[in-house]
Amino acid sequence: MKRMKLTQQEIVLAVFTALFLAFALFLPGFFTAANMLSLLQNVAVLGILGLAMAIVVLGRGIDISLIAALAVPPGLLLQMVQDGHSLFASVATALLLSLAFGIVNGWLIAYAEVPSLFATLATGLFLAGVGQASLFSIDVVQWSKGMEGFQNLGQGSILGVPTPIIMFAISCAAVAFFLRRTRWGAYIYAIGDNPNAARVTGIPTRPIVVLQYVLASLIGCFAGFVMAASINSMPTRIFNSTLIYDVILVVVLGGIGLSGGRGGVVNVIIGTFLIGTLLNGMTIMDVPYAGQNLIKGVVLLLAVITDSFLNPRNEETAQQGDI
C-alpha cells in the first residue's frame, strides 16, 4: 500500500507522457509550436481553477460553486464598466462580491456544518441565478471602452510566453508558497489529514475552513478575470457547462486525494497538463462533444476509484472492536 502511494504521481506522469507521445506520433498537427501554445493557453484558466479546488480538497472539502465564482464577479466587472463606472471601482466591487461569496460558503460549511458538496451546490446556483436575473443585461457580458488596459491580464505575451500561461505560473507559485511555507497552509494540511486531531491540538479549524473557501472564491474570480481578458467578454452561461467536471478531473487525476491532506501544486500542474493534452487531442481528432463527455466521464470515474483505493478514508474502518 505504501509503495503504491509513492508511485501515484509517477503513474499519472507516465500516463501523461504516453498520451503525449502517442498524440505527437500519430496525430498530425498536434506536436507543432502553434498547437502547443494554444494547448497551454486553453488550460491556463482550467489550471488556475484547479488550484482553487486543490486548496479546498486538501482540507477534505469540495467547491462545486467555483464556476459561479469564475463567471459572476468578472461578469459584474464588465457590466459595471459598460454601465459607466470606473474600472477601479468595478474591480473592487467584483473582488468584494467574490470575498463575500467565499465567506458565505466557508461559514455554511465550518459553522453551520452543512456538507461542502451540498452547501456549494446551492450557493453556486444562487450566485449564478443572481447574476443572470439581476446583474447582467445579456448572457454574454460584452467588453466596453472603459476596460482599456485590463486585457493585458489575458492577451499578448511576455518574452514570447502567452500571458494566460504566465498568470497560471504566478498563481502556482503563490499557492505553493501559501500551502508549503505559511502557517495557514500547514493548518490546511493538518485539517485535511485529521480534522479531529487538528481541533484537539488547538488549531482554529473553523476560521481556517472559511479561509479555504474565501481563497478558492478569490482565485476563481482571478481565473475569471484572465478568461474575460483573453476573450474580451464574459460568457456567463459557462455556469451551465461541464467545466466543473474538468476542474475536479484535474485535481483528482493529478493525485490530490479526495480524503484530504495529500498532494500539492505539483499535482495540479500534472493534472492540468494531462487534461489539457486529452482535450486538445480530442479536439484535433474532432471527437464530438457528446463523445468527449463520455471519455471524460470514464476517466473521472477511473480516477475517483483509483483515489479511493490509494487514499481510503480509513479512520472509521481502522478502529478496533472493543474487548
Binding site: R180, R181, T182, R183, G185, A186, Y187, Y189, A190, D193, N194, N196, A197, A198, R199, V200, T201, G202, I203, P204, T205, R206, G261, R262, E315, A318, Q319, Q320, G321, D322, I323
Partner: protein, 499 residues
C-alpha cells in the same frame, strides 16, 4: 425447566491483532437460567458475548449450541441458531414505528401496514408489553426501547438472549420492570446472559454468575454462593507476576495551587452534577467504569466536546470561570487533553514525527510564526523525540509506521510542546507495549514533579494505583469518592466504582 446446557464454550480464545481479548475461556449456559457476566473494563465480557451472537468469530476453541457445534459468522446466522443480542446502543431504527421495527427484515414482498400493526399488537399484548405498535421508536424512552428489543428477540424465537449492560440507561422503576421481564423470559424457558457493572443487580437477578478478569474465566458459581466482597476480590485479584504495577506508593506529593475546579457540571446523558478539583504538582487519578462520565467531564473542560451537550455548571481554571466551546482557547489557556483514541483525534498520519510536534507548537504559539521554518520544525522534533525516547528510524518517519507506544509518545510530545499547565491523560497506556508503559509512567511522574497539574483517567486499577497521589472515583456521571493514594486499596476503589 432449567437443567441441561444449551450453550457451551470450551477453550475459547479470540485474538485482536495478536492480543487476546479472551483466552481459553470455558463457559456454560443452562436452559432457562439467568446468567450474570461481570468483570472490569477490558476483561473480555463484550467479546465473549459477541462470540455467542456471531458478531465476532473465535480464533480457537469450540462453541456448541443445543449440543451441536456452532460457529455463527454473522448476527443473522446466530439468530437462526436462536441467539439474540440486545446491544448497549439500540439496534432499532429510530424513524420507524414499533411494529415496523418488530418485523424488520421479515417483510414480505407486499406489506400492509395494518396487518403488521395487528400482528404486532397481538404479540406485544401476549408479552404484556405496554407499547403501542404505531409509535415511532425514536420518541420512546430507554426502557420502552428495550422492551421492543426484547419483544423482537422473543418474536425471533430466541432461545438465548444476551443483554449488554441493560440497566445502564434505566431509572430505578424501569429497572424493576426490566427485572420482572427477564424473570418472565426465564419462565418461558429462555436463557438470559447479561453483562452488568452493577453487582447488586447481578446478585439479585442472576441464577449463576461468571467473573472474568484479563480475558480469563476466573470463577463461575451459583449466585447464592456469591456476595459482593467475593465478586470484587475475583474481579481485581491479580497475578503476582505483574511486577509492573507492583510498587505501592509510600509517599504522595503535596497539593499545590488549585488549578481546576469543576462545580455541578451537567451534560446529558453522561455527566450529572459532577464536582471535582485538580491541584498543581500532583497526579489526580480518575477511576471509573465505562459510562461513568470521566472522559466526557474532562472533554467539556478542555472544550473538546461540542457545546450542544452542555447543560450547566461551572468550570473554574486558575480562579477564573471559563467555558471553552472549542479546544483552541483551552489550549491557549494551558490545557492539554491527550486523547484515549490517538488514531481518531491524536496524530496526523501523513505528517512526519517532527511535523506532528511542530504543529502542536504552531497551534499554541502562532505569533511570529506566519512563515514556517523547516529548521525550527526539525529542532523541535529532535528535542522532543529525544526527551520522550521516541524510537523511530528518523524524525521524518511517518507516525502511522510507529508502534502504539511510540505513537502515543508523539501525541504526548505534541501536547507537551505547548507547555501546558494542566495535562489530562485519557487512558495514557491503551494499546501501548509494556516497555513504553514504563516510560510513559515515568514521564507523567516527572511532569507532576515539575509542578504541572496532571489528571490521569484510566479504567485500569493498577495504573491508577501506581500513578496517582489522589484518586477520584467516578460513578454514573459524577465523582462519588475521593481517596489519598496512601489509604486506597483496589477493593475500596472498586467498591466505590460499582453500585
Amino acid at each position: 425447566m432449567s437443567g441441561e446446557d444449551i450453550l457451551t464454550l470450551s477453550r475459547a480464545t479470540k485474538l485482536y491483532g495478536g492480543n487476546p481479548a479472551i483466552e481459553n475461556v470455558d463457559f456454560t449456559l443452562r436452559r432457562g437460567e439467568i446468567h450474570g457476566l461481570v468483570g472490569e473494563n477490558g476483561a473480555g465480557k463484550s467479546t465473549l458475548t459477541k462470540v455467542m451472537a456471531g458478531v465476532v468469530t473465535l480464533t480457537s476453541g469450540v462453541m456448541t449450541i443445543d449440543g451441536s457445534e456452532a460457529s455463527p459468522k454473522t448476527p443473522l446466522e446466530a439468530r437462526h441458531l436462536g441467539v439474540a443480542m440486545v446491544f448497549q446502543e439500540n439496534s432499532l431504527v429510530p424513524t420507524m414505528t414499533v411494529g415496523q421495527n418488530l418485523f424488520l427484515g421479515q417483510e414480505r414482498f407486499y406489506n400492509r401496514l395494518r396487518g403488521v400493526y395487528i400482528a404486532a399488537q397481538q404479540f406485544l399484548q401476549s408479552l404484556n408489553f405496554d407499547v403501542p405498535p404505531t409509535t415511532i421508536v425514536g420518541t420512546l424512552g430507554a426502557a420502552k426501547k428495550q422492551m421492543v428489543e426484547i419483544a423482537r428477540a422473543v418474536l425471533h424465537r430466541a432461545k438465548i438472549i444476551i443483554f449488554d449492560e441493560p440497566t445502564a440507561t434505566l431509572t430505578p422503576e424501569e429497572k424493576k420492570y426490566f427485572f420482572d421481564l427477564v424473570r418472565d423470559l426465564r419462565k418461558r424457558g429462555v436463557s438470559v446472559v447479561f453483562i452488568s457493572h452493577a453487582l447488586e443487580e447481578a446478585l439479585t437477578l442472576a441464577d449463576r454468575i461468571t467473573v472474568l478478569r484479563d480475558g480469563r474465566n476466573v470463577v463461575t458459581d451459583d449466585a447464592a454462593k456469591f456476595d459482593r466482597a467475593r465478586i470484587v476480590r475475583a474481579m481485581v485479584g491479580r497475578d503476582l507476576s505483574h511486577t509492573l504495577y507492583g510498587v505501592r506508593k509510600t509517599a504522595v506529593r503535596k497539593a499545590g495551587a488549585r488549578v481546576l475546579v469543576v462545580q455541578n457540571l451537567k451534560m446529558a446523558p453522561a455527566v450529572k452534577n459532577n464536582s471535582l478539583s485538580v491541584f498543581a504538582g500532583q497526579i489526580t487519578g480518575v477511576f471509573g467504569l465505562v459510562g461513568a462520565g470521566r472522559t466526557e467531564t474532562f472533554k467539556v473542560v478542555a472544550g473538546v466536546l461540542k457545546r450542544d451537550f452542555f447543560h450547566g455548571g461551572e468550570i473554574i481554571l486558575n480562579d477564573r470561570p471559563v467555558r471553552f466551546r472549542v479546544p483552541a482557547p483551552g489550549v491557549r489557556a494551558g490545557i492539554a487533553y491527550i486523547t484515549e483514541d490517538r488514531k481518531v483525534e491524536g496524530f496526523f498520519e501523513t505528517a512526519s514525527i517532527a511535523w506532528n510536534i511542530y504543529l502542536g507548537l504552531l497551534a499554541k504559539f502562532p505569533r511570529g510564526r506566519a512563515l514556517l521554518s523547516k529548521r525550527e520544525g526539525m529542532e523541535v522534533g529532535a528535542k522532543w523525540t529525544e526527551k520522550l525516547k521516541v524510537r523511530a528510524i528518523s524524525n521524518q518517519a511517518r507516525v502511522v509506521e510507529l508502534s502504539g507506544g511510540n505513537q502515543q509518545k508523539v501525541v504526548i510530545a505534541k501536547s507537551l510542546v505547548q507547555e501546558p499547565k494542566l495535562v489530562i491523560f485519557d487512558e495514557p497506556t491503551r494499546g501501548v507495549d509494556v516497555g513504553a508503559i514504563v516510560e510513559i509512567h515515568e514521564l507523567i511522574n516527572r511532569l507532576a514533579d515539575e509542578g504541572t497539574a496532571v489528571v490521569v483517567i484510566s479504567s485500569y486499577l493498577p495504573e491508577i494505583m501506581a500513578l496517582s497521589d489522589r484518586i477520584l472515583v467516578s460513578r454514573q456521571g459524577k465523582v462519588v469518592e475521593e481517596f489519598s493514594a496512601l489509604e486506597a486499596t483496589e477493593e475500596k476503589i472498586m467498591y466505590a466504582a460499582i453500585h
